[in-house]
Symmetry: C3
Subunit: 322 residues, 3 copies
């Protein structure tokens, strides 16, 4: 049972998916991230952990937002960052992905942050690279988006430290969401006893129960007494497709309003991976309300990405950077 | 009378427009810029004033040239620069401008350089951000382009130190020019006694006299005995529109030639914000001639932008960077 | 006889083409590059030679790959790098190339890396700039791509140190290849006694023999007993044009297979400038085989570009950077 994410000594070598990561590593990432939260609040938001290292943002699928978070994280670690939007480059000249990767390795790139529309792309690259090169999956098809899953549990842990005592609901397009898959794996691995998914049948994968979740089609029943509500983004292409009647209809049934949120525990928190469709999956009064932790998610996302990069680069704990 | 550009202690908090900036602040920016002119001439063109700070270039309207000047200025101050061309990013995913801004603030961005095709966009963002975040308007619609106005008066002051004794002519498309508006406000605020605008009626805003300028339709009369000629760029879309007969015709009437320039004072200087349409609003022999200070404008533009960023970030005078 | 690439003291001022560079300078670049190979293998891959300098990537023709190599080289020298994709910028606003360049010089750019689809573009810019500004040609039309030529001979020298005793074959589209021209000049200047070109008549320039090469149309005859095989990329547009029957046909006649390679010396090495068309000009088993030095070329390409930039910036030998 060879785990491609760990090296021989059981340390993190790549971050490809939450699935398959031992609980110990998950906790190590979260604890390391804790030490990086403070860096962003310093006068000089920079530590020299990755100085002289070259981080390649290899984006086969455009995403300014995700690219920016990794770019900021890498620069705060003092790395040199090279951003390649691969649609507009050698791929169009017929070069294979592995040739592109091999070339960047020959230029002494140290780390790849990979986003691709096809599931498994980051695994494919990770399998190919030599031992001293590290790969971070920044979203592959419908499969995985592990740093998003990690920042979500990091955020939950900040507000609800006792994960073993939580009821969490994930609401929306579970079927097409790599975020949902990563969240479910992170939550169950860390011992959250009850994870619910709330969605219409058309937006649920077959046999979703096998992931260890409870399925609800009725949002009111699903939100009842939960501690955490994790909303998902509804992709525009789903709204216009035959899959859903209309954005308005969706909002009525599965959009999170103050009224529906009242069914959760009074101190429940609300998460959303962004970018939000206000008025589609979430009402503005909730997004901007007292229970929303959507912007803290973004803040912690930088700390989590710094932690992952630092661990991959040096195996060092984040505590040593001062 | 709450001035959004100043904090409670009367220090610069945002740079949104020249309009509304006290003369004292204008002079403070120009004096601070003076101290940064020397930085670009050093062997190592870098000062650590913004080290560990994150400057976001938030360009909703593409402008490689302006973005480059801010990027160079920020990097010479040792900031980390994140450039977002927002057309190609989250905006297309339905996220609002303020959500984009809030996300970047959650990532601990310190400063936004904003360019937008709509007047008021930078003000809108400035009104929204918390006190420790700073906004620089890099051009909003037809409204304002304050760093351009500042670098123009900085350049004029360099060659003609006694502003109280100057006659200045601004020539061209005043109507659509945010540059012209910023120049007029800067010049009149700093006590230039006579500012003329020279343009056909179709390229003048209604009631332009209320800005404190003298209106000329005849270029020869308008250039008579001026100390400074500020040419404006004629946008291509105006030339092809019904507004003007033709580029050739425009050149004949309002293009600056050596012959027309001879009507100004013998030591008059010529400015242009760039990029130039040679042979349309300005003849090459003038653009490259002895009276042209067009390239010094570009040089001083970096110093002015460094000064503004340094003042916003630290309230420090540029003199402390050694 | 004024050589635009050298200053009055015979030192490198611009790198525009291999043609016209004295052998002494070529060797100096290669020797300096030698000292930079080690930098990429250090823990911190950075030297401060260009700290505080501004390097402008001025790409009038898009090339993510080449731009990336120069960006990495400049960043490892601690320069600030500004990348301008000039198609999407001021050029479209009617500004001339020289105005764009003058503006960047006014912003105190120190070095230009220029890629342009027209032959002579880098020379044109080099002729225009003041003495303290340096220009590197990163590919101009069909004319020259000197850093590619240099990294190729650097790679050959690494594996076959005695250049005076080599037989080298360059195979493929010589006609449209700036790489081939640069390679031929580099090899003959450094004293390689026999350089062969192998191509169909339609892909050879008129009077190619005048470059000092031996012409072969038959690949088997041409590869006989050579020490080095330099494959060229076949541009897609050639394949679809009337110039060639088909990619398959081309592969059969001029594609490098293990079988054909066996005609060369047993220890012959294989080079390719990339990006490769596997199965068109080169078989995968050769590209990835034991005789391939295609990825070392990429590695040495960074060292060569660092060497050129360091020499231009300071005239310093690479040995002083420790």
């Amino acid at each position: 049972m060879n785990n491609p994410q760990l090296d021989q000594d059981g340390r993190l070598r790549h971050l490809l998916s939450i699935e398959g990561l031992p609980k110990k590593i998950l906790n190590q990432i979260l604890d390391t991230a804790e030490s990086f939260v403070g860096v962003a609040e310093r006068e000089v938001k920079k530590v020299p952990l990755l100085r002289g290292k070259t981080v390649c943002n290899l984006f086969f699928e455009n995403s300014t937002r995700t690219r920016t978070t990794f770019e900021i994280a890498a620069k705060r670690l003092s790395a040199d960052v090279i951003s390649l939007n691969v649609n507009s480059s050698s791929q169009s000249k017929g070069e294979t992905i592995l040739d592109t990767v091999d070339n960047l390795i020959a230029m002494h790139a140290d780390m790849f942050v990979v986003r691709h529309s096809q599931s498994g792309a980051a695994h494919f690259i990770a399998k190919h690279v030599p031992p001293h090169i590290h790969v971070i999956n920044a979203g592959d098809g419908r499969h995985s988006h592990p740093t998003q899953g990690l920042l979500d549990v990091f955020t939950i842990r900040k507000y609800k430290p006792d994960l073993h005592n939580l009821r969490v609901a994930i609401v929306g397009d579970i079927l097409h969401s790599r975020v949902a898959r990563s969240e479910i794996h992170a939550l169950t691995s860390l011992g959250v006893p009850e994870v619910r998914v709330i969605a219409p049948k058309t937006l649920l994968p077959a046999q979703v129960e096998k992931l260890g979740v409870h399925v609800y089609h009725d949002m009111k029943a699903g939100l009842k007494d939960v501690d955490v509500v994790m909303m998902l983004r509804l992709q525009n292409e789903r709204m216009s497709g035959a899959m859903l009647p209309s954005a308005q209809e969706y909002f009525k049934t599965y959009g999170l309003t103050q009224e529906k949120l009242r069914l959760a525990k009074p101190d429940a928190i609300v998460l959303h991976p962004g970018p939000m469709n206000r008025g589609v999956e979430i009402d503005s009064s909730v997004a901007d309300g007292a229970q929303s932790v959507i912007l803290p998610q973004v803040t912690y996302g930088i700390a989590v990405r710094m932690a992952v990069m630092a661990m991959l680069a040096g195996g060092q704990s984040g505590g040593t950077q001062s």
